[in-house]
């Protein structure tokens, strides 16, 4: 964990809803892996008070491309205070061929960084957008990513096939009720696949991280054995190992 400064070198509007920031960071932060994030403070005053979690979507050398809502204002040359790296890299299974990414009622931003890494390792990627995630414009994504838009009730075309083919699933849901939404998702996967093996269905937890280092315990999750912290042990957790009630 390190506190450092980073410079916004480019601001690019990718669609009406989102912009991409090119962030020049120091060497430590440029070693970020899919799943990890940054906690950023943009101003010198105390509003907003808590740091905001920034998710890179790609890495270009020592620059991270960060996806932020278009409504936020950033200037080229702006210096931001960064705390990172937050979390652990996602552990992918060996011999991966197909990965299913699922975004439910939230933009898929926290899982987009996996795409270049997976594509680079010749893994095919399917992105399923459910609920309000359907509004997410995918035109800027790698054209090799198969995008499927489902409905509000967790249905999508060829569901049995996509669930069956996937070697690993990474899901992100709206933070208003992460456990409840993940529980619905697990139930849907159980309907489509008789047994959910371990290390198959992962939830990417994306709630507020006040400290990001494991000090405040506000992001604690109850696991089958004990408990874990999203900021230091996550954000990816095998949903079969988390107590979702």
């Amino acid at each position: 964990m390190k506190q450092s400064e980073a410079i916004i070198e480019r601001v690019r509007r990718i669609n009406p809803a989102y912009q991409h920031l090119e962030l020049a960071v120091d060497d430590t932060l440029s070693r970020i892996k899919p799943g990890q994030s940054l906690l950023v403070k943009t101003g010198r005053d105390w509003h907003p008070y808590l740091r905001v979690q920034w998710h890179p979507v790609t890495i270009a050398g020592a620059k991270l491309v960060i996806e932020r809502p278009a409504g936020e204002h950033y200037d080229v040359g702006q210096v931001v205070d960064v705390l990172g790296l937050v979390g652990q890299p996602i552990r992918f299974r060996r011999n991966l061929r197909n990965v299913l990414l699922v975004a439910y009622d939230t933009p898929p931003t926290p899982i987009l960084m996996t795409i270049p890494w997976l594509m680079g390792n010749k893994v095919s990627v399917t992105l399923v957008l459910l609920g309000t995630a359907r509004q997410y414009d995918t035109a800027h994504l790698n054209p090799e990513v198969e995008v499927i838009k489902g409905d509000d009730d967790l249905n999508w075309q060829n569901q049995v096939m996509t669930v069956g083919w996937a070697d690993q699933v990474l899901a992100v849901v709206h933070t208003d009720d992460e456990l409840g939404r993940f529980k619905k998702l697990v139930a849907r996967f159980e309907e489509r696949r008789a047994i959910i093996p371990q290390n198959y269905l992962f939830g990417i937890f994306n709630g507020d991280l006040p400290c990001g280092v494991g000090a405040c315990h506000a992001c604690m999750l109850q696991t089958r054995q004990s408990w874990s912290l999203v900021c230091t042990d996550g954000p990816a957790f095998d949903l079969t190992q988390i107590t979702l009630d």
């Binding site: 964990m1 105390w46 907003p48 740091r51 205070d81 507020d208 006040p210 990001g212 405040c216 315990h217």
Partner: protein, 315 residues
């Protein structure tokens, strides 16, 4: 610098710096070691622990407020036995005193916990946390339960309600230090769910409220050290508490937002801050140092003494 933060007794606690993190903001001494130089802090106050394990609160735990945050974690912890097993070795190795924050649950649990902590070599003091709506009788029982079973100093973290009366009881029951105060409670609507959530409020706004309490405590109870805690976000905030009568301060949630600020405040109040560019040791560098000062230090030797030159110009 030596600051006595507990009443004089068998295990009087003396700190080199009157600044420490507040309970619940700094883990168990296992985090922030990459960012903060622990040697510059006065002590570490651990996250709250209870006799039995506690699970995390269900549902939303964090609500962002204007210039602050409302948090309700449920004080999750592994219970005293597992916590001691996990961190005992670390605490004996850290170069500063360890103060355990004990949650005031029941007198029986507090008594047993105090007895366990009394045997721990790496524990220097106990900070007993009291509920906000606690009655004076229950407060007396809990404090007595702690002080009667340990020779280590028992610091009592006071609630923001009925503070003066609870402080009086704490002194009568043998508390070594008063910590003022726990963060005040509040309620806010979670914008994501629309539900109301209760929790503790943190941020710069709570400082004036707790500063007043500290001043009142210091005027009323002159014989017991007071530690001020709440809303400290700058070295001046910390100095304000000392000015109001606190012997030391605890820095809370600002550590999450600007971790280096905790060290900066500790250096400032501990007399470590560098005010001249010459004669400073390399380890006196810290990231909060101003850019101007950095640049001047990095300049090559200009071949004359700047102070002498200024003297000549003045003449």
């Amino acid at each position: 610098m030596a600051i006595q933060i507990t009443r004089t007794g068998k295990n009087t606690l003396i700190l080199e710096t009157p600044v420490m993190p507040a309970a619940g903001t700094f883990g168990f001494g296992d985090v922030y070691r990459d960012i903060i130089n622990f040697e510059k802090l006065g002590a570490i106050v651990t996250n709250p622990i209870s006799y039995e394990p506690r699970t995390a609160a269900h549902g939303a735990r964090v609500i962002r407020l204007d210039s602050g945050v409302l948090i309700h974690t449920g004080l999750p912890n592994l219970g005293i036995n597992k916590v001691l097993r996990k961190y005992r070795t670390l605490w004996t190795m850290l170069p500063l005193p360890i103060i355990i924050h004990l949650i005031g649950t029941t007198p029986d649990h507090v008594r047993k916990s105090a007895a366990r902590l009394d045997e721990e070599e790496g524990v220097d003091a106990i900070e007993l946390g009291l509920n906000d709506d606690i009655s004076q009788d229950v407060a007396a029982d809990l404090i007595h339960a702690a002080t009667s079973r340990t020779e280590k100093p028992v610091m009592v973290r006071l609630p923001t309600t009925d503070t003066m009366n609870i402080a009086k009881i704490a002194i009568e029951e043998g508390a070594s230090t008063l910590v003022a105060c726990s963060a005040p409670r509040g309620t806010a609507r979670d914008p994501r769910t629309g539900h109301m959530m209760s929790g503790r409020i943190y941020g710069p706004i709570i400082k004036p409220m707790i500063l007043r309490i500290v001043a009142q405590l210091a005027q009323t109870f002159a014989d017991i050290p007071i530690i001020g805690s709440g809303g400290i976000h700058t070295p001046q905030d910390a100095r304000d508490y000392i000015h109001a009568g606190a012997r030391a301060v605890q820095v809370d949630t600002v550590t999450w937002i600007q971790p280096q600020l905790l060290e900066h405040i500790a250096r400032d109040l501990g007399g470590w801050i560098v005010t001249r560019e010459s004669g400073a040791l390399p380890d006196e560098w810290h990231p909060m140092m101003g850019d101007t000062e950095k640049k001047r230090r990095n300049q090559p030797d200009i071949g004359y003494d700047e102070d002498e030159l200024m003297d000549k110009l003045r003449r």
